[in-house]
């Protein structure tokens, strides 16, 4: 392993992940008939910055195609960023290559959406969970591996773990499968986990259990998560801070309850107004948005939300807004952020989560 990888990464409290101005542009291949035409670029992620502290869960929400999944794949370096910095445990991993990068995989794991696809159907539970140990050369003997695998399975709520070791994915329920995927991420004792829509394929009654499990793991091991979801209610339940993505940028970011109760970006306001509420007596307000999501190939000039914003003024069509901090840690990309912020809540503000005292 190379020298850039610290054997004992810094553990002092602080930012585990500090992403600055992250950009990912995909070049589209020009077809035969478009020979000579300028190449098209999909601006999937177009300047995203955020920080995640030890033990913190950041929720990343947005519509499909907003770049949230690409962001998750960039910070875990499953994609190569076009530009920007990804400081992870004090080292910029944005440009690492080869074995330097492999060294970091030990500290960073990913949980994917579909446990039916993310587990190899020919691998037993033991082999699936032990695989990262082999790849990253973590445990030396079979006994050590077995011990780590059983601990990870039990941490993922699969008890008794030794009965499951020989099973194949098709013998497990959807909830158990996702727990195996979580155990596979836990087995290397990661310092950071990216979970991309980890509960959206699961049945309702199973979903809550997997969410509670992840909250417990955070409590127990102080693992920070980047939790990617399209469901704002799920993001609210899971996260301490929330980032709302729109066309490759973070339209708004801040402490979860603050963003939910005092959204300062018109896009966040629209998303919140559109979310169905499990209460038949809830009174819905009008959703202040128009039109369809523009293509990330042709991002509108000025504020990229102006084509759908019902409040758009001339300045929005011409000038791209900078981040405005409306309160400590609560930033938004809108020329009129302070106005929206002072209009206040759509939904009454809430006290802290009950069971956290």
């Amino acid at each position: 392993m190379s020298a850039v990888v610290p054997t004992q990464p810094s553990v002092e409290p602080g930012f585990v992940m500090n992403v600055q101005n992250l950009v990912k542009h995909f070049e589209l291949k020009a077809g035969f008939f478009a020979l000579g035409a300028p190449p098209l670029t999909v601006k999937a992620v177009d300047g995203v910055s955020f920080k995640i502290h030890t033990g913190e869960i950041m929720g990343l929400v947005g519509e499909s195609g907003c770049g949230k999944t690409t962001t998750g794949r960039l910070v875990t370096r499953l994609e190569n960023p076009s530009s920007g910095r990804i400081d992870f445990l004090g080292v910029d991993i944005a440009t690492l290559r080869g074995s330097d990068l492999v060294g970091f995989r030990k500290y960073m794991q990913m949980i994917f959406q579909d446990p039916y696809e993310s587990l190899n159907p020919r691998f037993t539970v033991f082999r699936a969970v032990a695989d990262p140990l082999n790849v990253l050369g973590i445990a030396e003997t079979q006994e050590e591996r077995l011990e780590l695998v059983i601990k990870a399975l039990e941490d993922a709520g699969l008890r008794p773990a030794d009965e499951l070791l020989g099973r194949f994915p098709h013998e497990l329920s959807g909830g158990q499968r996702q727990r195996v995927a979580i155990a596979r991420a836990l087995v290397v004792s990661p310092r950071f986990i990216v979970a991309d829509e980890p509960v959206s394929m699961l049945d309702v009654s199973i979903r809550a259990g997997v969410m509670n499990l992840m909250l417990e793991l955070r409590q127990k091991y102080d693992i920070p998560f980047l939790f990617i979801t399209h469901d704002i209610a799920v993001a609210r339940y899971m996260s301490d801070t929330i980032g709302v993505m729109y066309l490759g940028r973070l339209a708004e970011m801040g402490p979860t309850e603050e963003v939910i109760s005092r959204p300062a970006h018109p896009y966040t306001r629209a998303l919140l107004a559109a979310v169905p509420v499990p209460d038949p007596e809830h009174e819905y307000s009008i959703v202040p948005i128009t039109g369809e999501l523009p293509s990330p190939v042709n991002i509108p000039k000025g504020c990229r939300f102006h084509t759908r914003c019902v409040y758009a003024k001339q300045v929005c069509r011409e000038v791209e807004p900078a981040h405005v901090e409306v309160s400590p840690g609560h930033a938004t990309l809108c020329h009129f952020a302070h106005d929206f912020y002072s209009v206040g809540s759509l939904i009454p503000p809430s006290p802290p989560k009950e069971w956290e005292g």
């Binding site: 979903r207 979310v275 169905p276 038949p280």
Partner: protein, 338 residues
């Protein structure tokens, strides 16, 4: 009464036995009414829908029950002696799509990819009504206005549409013949909230205007809270509780309903720890004896393990299939599931 399903039993034949997909399900629907059919995957809700529209696959056997639609006994028309459905029936073809239409799950795959979307809608109109091609085309254009797709997109192919537009095209097709009943199977599950909201609002508006009855099938209790006047909760092939939306949410009388509602996060109110119902939904090949929810129920008693609970009427129209519904109503708390 527009639709009455009485004790419908549909089992699927598979290699290892029979899947008891619906086991004695009864629902009723008035003209212009919206019923939300809620349950997890494999609870039988889609089978019930296909049993109403007579679209069951060839390994489905109807073992009992009746489906009365607008005074007509549908199973009498379509059922063969062995309980399977005929593949083709002249009488039923007059009803299907004309009077009962469906919005299918996953509109992404329900449209023909090599036919222009407008032509697909016009085709449905031409099949059922004596109109000219021009008239059918005009009707399709009106439908586009109705569901809010720009009319200049009518000659495009499905792949040129966004997901929300495809779903709206599916709705246009379902409404093309002014049906009396629309069955929507997870109509917005794959869509983003803003598109979902647009479609649910549109559907509701059209429904009021056209006086259609509707069955919305979904696993998402917040979607039915927003759209349905009445709800039927299904679990493991049976109805567990049915009543008005308000009764189901505010006067819950079945432990499963309580757990289901408690496992949903919301953007409104306090953040409470979500309920997790222990275990997994049961296999429908060998459903549990007695009350099917008993292996997962925190209130379980001995009688639940052996005896199938009768429907107890909590108030007119509010029925719970739980032995202890009368004792538990008002005392149910999702916290016992934690």
């Amino acid at each position: 009464m527009l639709l009455e399903v009485q004790d419908l039993v549909v089992h699927y034949k598979i290699k290892t036995g029979w899947v008891h997909a619906t086991d004695g399900v009864s629902i009723q629907l008035d003209k212009g009414e919206t019923l939300g059919l809620v349950g997890e995957s494999a609870c039988g809700k889609t089978t019930l829908a296909y049993g109403i529209s007579q679209l069951l696959p060839s390994n489905a056997y109807i073992k009992g029950g009746r489906v009365i639609f607008d005074g007509k006994n549908l199973l009498k028309m379509t059922m063969k002696k062995d309980g399977r459905l005929k593949e083709y029936d002249n009488e039923l073809n007059k009803i299907r799509w004309k009077e009962i239409s469906m919005i299918f799950q996953g509109a992404m795959n329900a449209l023909n990819p090599v036919q222009r979307v407008g032509d697909q809608i016009a085709e449905a109109i031409l099949f059922h009504e004596r109109v000219t091609k021009q008239q059918a085309r005009q009707r399709a254009e009106q439908l586009y206005n109705l569901v809010g797709i720009p009319v200049d997109r009518i000659d495009h192919f499905p792949h040129e549409y966004s997901g929300g537009m495809k779903q709206r095209a599916m709705i246009a097709m379902a409404l093309a013949l002014n049906p009396k009943l629309v069955i929507a199977d997870e109509p917005t599950t794959a869509l983003d909230v803003i598109t979902q909201n647009k479609i649910l609002t549109k559907v509701r508006e059209l429904q009021d205007r056209l006086e259609m009855a509707m069955i919305i099938i979904t696993h998402d209790v917040s979607v039915v809270a927003k759209t349905a006047k009445r709800i039927a909760v299904m679990y493991a092939g049976q109805i567990s509780e049915t009543g008005t939306t308000r009764e189901i949410f505010k006067e819950t009388a079945h432990p499963y309903t309580s757990g289901l509602l408690g496992s949903f996060p919301s953007i409104k109110g306090k953040v409470r720890r979500l309920a997790t119902i222990k275990g997994n939904p049961p296999s429908l090949v060998e459903p549990p004896t007695g009350c099917r929810f008993h292996p997962r129920c925190p209130y379980v008693q001995d009688i639940c393990k052996t005896q199938n609970p009768p429907g107890l009427t909590m108030s007119p129209g509010h029925i719970s299939f739980c032995h202890f519904a009368k004792d538990l109503q008002g005392k149910l708390s999702p916290e016992v599931f934690i």
